[in-house]
Symmetry: C2
Subunit: 242 residues, 2 copies
DNA sequence: GCGGGTCTGTACGCTGGCGTACATAGCGCG
DNA sequence: CGCGCTATGTACGCCAGCGTACAGACCCGC
């Protein structure tokens, strides 16, 4: 049904009614999203919105002292650049490609045109934004109360949900940057998860061996976020004529 | 211009063009919001949205183990119940009155009617939502990286901005609950702020004596949030015919 | 196949915030 | 005016996570 490079790989695009899809499709431009690419810098103006298909992008805040913190991740379930249609024009966060892959982009003014029709596209985007708010909120609570190991599990599971395979290309250093903790903290937590057989890793590659093991160690935050995404975006599989 | 119990005390209401305001005004119902009242329980359906005038409401997540964490505060600059028009119907967070006062409420279906006109009201609400996302995001980063004292300063300043006076009615226990830290941690931080002459307190009352002192101790998060609110809602003073 | 850069493992002391426990003090209500 | 509740002060041990430092291991490219 969906070939590897169809916009329909993205759940939001796939959920559009046929009319909306056909209106937009000609303007969706396939782009490669290499690891580390910065799609939006904090405070920058948005030229495009992005619908990732295989890539995963991390939204993060950079503090004055250089420390960072991921506030949410966006994969093929979502869209990047919500502040465009929310009315902000700029984002206060930074968007960095966390897993290399592809996505489709759409020029900002075309996005706005479609949004301003106040039709299905608008409703879908607002629902997604609501889900994103949940993710950010849960991150805030999780940062306050849960251990590094629990947060690592959460992060791995959320990333896994957006990937086709069970292997992620990712150094401990990068993960530490996203979670806003020390690299050594990730080494320790990951070592522990490896001992218990949940994961295996080698230099920049992590393979998840026992997903249920991770699920038994993760804090409630993972399930809460997932539940809310499913609830808000369940009707996303509606369109069959793809 | 604005009498003590006018809906225009709320900045969002005050920013509405005359036509919108007159359409809504007859349906705005003044309600008292006593300390501790729960406006929305996590997962509950929304019957009303609220525009606080003098009250301040805290949005918080309650974890499974009973620990809590505030994700944002809402005062006379905002509205409660955004998930209604964002498409969620229910909120995953809980809304508790943090400072007693008043507000106006509007029935959910009337709010939706107005929102669905896709006019100024919708644009205003989306802008506000964008500002709220910033606040939540900054809270997430702040929870990760900053000390209890810094967070206390942030919280005091944000609360102060929403109050007419420089005295807040608030126990250390309650503040601790909002920030998701131990009560003793607040005692210590508040004691320190008192020693340096920034604040004075007695059993349930905190008076801010030296605002600039707080500002010199607070982390960047306060200024970031404030800046973004000002940027997004600056046009809120437009309507002069009040 | 070998070198160099990067990634990962380990160690050590430090400190902020936690859990627990209990003492004191202010305020409201009878 | 005094009782009792609730808010606040203080103390002690504990530990997760930090900052720093360095050693070893892996991989890629030449």
């Amino acid at each position: 049904m969906t070939d590897p490079h169809s916009p329909n790989q993205n759940h939001l695009v796939a959920a559009l009614p046929t009319a909306e899809f056909e209106r937009l499709a000609p303007h969706l431009e396939l782009v490669a999203m290499p690891l580390g690419e910065v799609l939006y810098e904090s405070g920058g103006k948005l030229q495009h919105v992005y619908f990732p298909t295989t890539a995963i992008v991390s939204l993060q805040y950079i503090m004055e002292n250089g420390a960072s913190a991921e506030i949410a991740g966006v994969g093929n379930e979502g869209i990047l650049g919500i502040s465009l249609f929310m009315g902000g024009e700029t984002t206060p966060s930074r968007a960095v490609v966390q897993t290399a892959g592809y996505g489709y982009r759409l020029k900002a003014h075309l996005m706005m045109q479609e949004f301003n029709r106040a039709g299905p596209m608008m409703r879908l985007l607002l629902r997604y934004t609501q889900a994103l708010i949940t993710q950010v909120s849960q991150t805030a609570a999780c940062n306050r109360h849960h251990s590094v190991e629990q947060q690592l599990c959460r992060w791995l599971l959320l990333t896994l949900d957006r990937l086709p395979s069970n292997e992620l290309t990712m150094t401990q250093e990068l993960i530490a940057g996203m979670l806003g903790v020390r690299r050594e903290g990730i080494t320790e937590a990951a070592g522990h998860l490896q001992q218990t057989g949940c994961i295996r890793y080698r230099r920049g590659h992590i393979t998840v061996l026992d997903r249920s093991g991770l699920e038994s160690r993760v804090c409630e935050c993972y399930a809460e976020v997932k539940k809310e995404f499913d609830r808000l975006l369940c009707d996303v599989q509606n369109r069959q004529d793809i």
